[in-house]
Amino acid sequence: MLTKNAARVFQVSAIFLLLALILASPALILSSLLPMVFTALYALLAWRRLRRIEPDIFATSLIASPNPALVNSDIRVKLVVALRRDLELPIEAQVETWELETSGKPGWRGVLRKGVEAVADFKVRSSEIGVRLLGPVFIALKDRLGVAVRELEVHPPLPILILSEALRLRAPAALQVSSRSPAPGLAENPFIGMPEEYRLSLPQTQEQPARLIDWRRTARSGGEELYVREYDRLRRGEVVFGVGGGLRVEVPGMGVAEQLALQPLLQIALAHLKAGSSPWLLAYAGRGEFTASPLLQSPEGVVLGQPQGMPPRGSLVVYVTRLIDPLEAEALSRLSKLTSLRLLLLDLGDGERLRRAAGRVEAWYSIVGVDELPQALWRALRVHGRIT
């Protein structure tokens, strides 16, 4: 409610007021009482005004480039904040960077007006492989005298994929589908689709590519009509790959659990991307909140798009976690109501605990060891009934 400086002024005045009361000194009482009373009254009145301001009056963009990035390499970050309404507000914008090493000032301070952009450029890097969160972006909204302040969260955390050279995202040249029931969003043939997607054959009058022609049906019609296969679109590739909490632990002889989980997740995500769908990356941001970003194909390669608080509604979410944080379990229960959630609980010798924790989450789950994770991921994705 009070800015740091105003709060300190209040504290100093309060201490001297107490001292003045002990000493029964009228002059000192009045000198310390006036700043105290003014600060408190002004803060109350100004704060009532600040409460009327909604976070959506700020247009915020947080861009990290490159993302995915290599371990121990600089990632350039640009924060842009603009006002949507014709106002003049003293603000302090701050990007939380506690998961990353930061060089430069991750924030901006000043008076923001409509038509003026607040821009902060800085760099971050990570010495560890995994999903690191940049953000959320907070705005400390101050009144004109700098006495009262209100904090707003204006941008969700941005997941940054930190990869090693070996794990670097390269779209596969050819897609191998070993199963007869490939995952949703993953086309056996990007031109015609999977057998499961086949819906009906329709007569066509125009000339069609030979591979789309339903030759059997055309033959049954005596060759009078040309039948072409029509395929249902899959769920527009809304497959979400999630990385939860408790994975930043070393698995003896194998490496960090988060890295071990990411490797197969990214391979499958890339396969989906190659097949023309748009997979998402979901990360647990702590405090019972998630952040989700789409994996996109750009001229520079695979990039993570702008984050959202939640993945698309109705999407299939495959989420690897150890369910350490009780708030994460609650958040997953909420997520399972909006999406088709498949939990893969990584067993690092605490299977019994995982079983108990999973009981609190209303979702399909499977407890798997680190070496079983790639197969478990494929299993979790093969869900025919969920295809819409």
């Binding site: 409610m1 009070l2 800015t3 400086n5 105003a6 709060a7 300190r8 002024v9 209040f10 504290q11 100093v12 005045s13 309060a14 001297f16 007021l17 107490l18 001292l19 009361l21 002990i22 000493l23 029964a24 000194s25 009228p26 002059a27 000192l28 009482i29 009045l30 000198s31 310390s32 009482l33 006036l34 700043p35 105290m36 009373v37 003014f38 408190a40 009254l41 002004y42 803060a43 109350l44 009145l45 100004a46 704060w47 005004r49 409460r51 003049e88 003293p90 301070r109 000043g110 008076v111 101050k142 009144d143 004109r144 005298l145 700098g146 006495v147 209100r150």
Partner: protein
């Protein structure tokens, strides 16, 4: 030394309002300084030198020559006189001069560069020391030893005893009222992040009016019933602190 010199804002560079506010802020401190000087039995040259030299430091922006001439030279001379001639009065008077000028020195030195909270601390701390010094003005023939003796608990401390502060000079009270307003104005100038006319702010005017009414009401009440005013001040102070601690949690701030 160069760094310190470079960080201080020149008084000549201050705008007129800042000079006016600083001048008003120093009024009660200056008044108590003059009052305590009048109370001394005799004014020693080293006492005046102590006051003058300390005040010259911020005014000359830590000029090396001034510091050497006004601080080191008198200090060395007084030490030599104490150790060689066995005469402590030079050192005592010099130290008394420093003590008397200290609140003014702090305010002059830190006014431009300090944070709002530091300015409040310096001003109120200076007021406390000034009130302590003002307590001597009611006495006649004060010796410099008495100033120091009153600071130490074993010698019957006056510094934190209500008796030392019960003396209330009407002129000092008026100057304090003006300087408190100047303090508030200075704090707002330091706090505010944007240049906009303060008097055009409805919220500012409302808060200023209400806080002035509360303070003035307590001041008037203290003339009628000191105990009741004391109790009311205690309750107001406590209620404000409690309000600021609890209210944001209640409304989700």
């Amino acid at each position: 030394m160069e760094g310190a010199q470079g960080s201080r804002e020149d008084y000549l560079e201050m705008d007129r309002l800042s000079i006016l506010l600083l001048g008003t802020l120093t009024l009660p401190l200056l008044y108590s300084l003059l009052q305590v000087l009048q109370a001394f039995e005799s004014l020693h040259f080293f006492l005046l030198l102590g006051i003058f030299s300390l005040l010259m430091i911020p005014v000359t922006r830590y000029l090396t020559e001034v510091i050497l001439a006004s601080i080191y030279v008198p200090a060395i001379i007084s030490f030599l006189l104490l150790s060689l001639a066995g005469r402590p009065e030079f050192l005592l008077n010099l130290a008394a001069g420093y003590l008397i000028a200290f609140p003014l020195f702090l305010l002059l030195d830190f006014y431009t560069d300090s944070s709002p909270q530091l300015l409040t601390l310096i001003y109120l701390g200076g007021m406390l020391l000034s009130l302590y010094l003002l307590g001597f003005s009611g006495e006649q023939g004060v010796h410099v030893e008495a100033l120091f003796r009153g600071l130490f608990p074993r010698e019957g401390s006056r510094l934190l005893s209500p008796e030392a502060f019960s003396y209330m000079d009407p002129l000092f009270a008026v100057l304090t009222a003006f300087s408190t307003i100047a303090l508030l104005w200075s704090l707002l100038r330091k706090l505010r992040p944007m240049e906009s006319p303060l008097l055009g702010e409805e919220v500012f005017l409302t808060a200023l009016l209400l806080s002035a009414l509360v303070t003035f009401g307590i001041a008037v009440l203290s003339r009628v019933s000191g105990e009741f005013a004391w109790l009311l001040t205690f309750l107001v102070g406590g209620a404000l602190a409690l309000f600021l601690a609890v209210y944001p949690r209640l409304v989700g701030g």
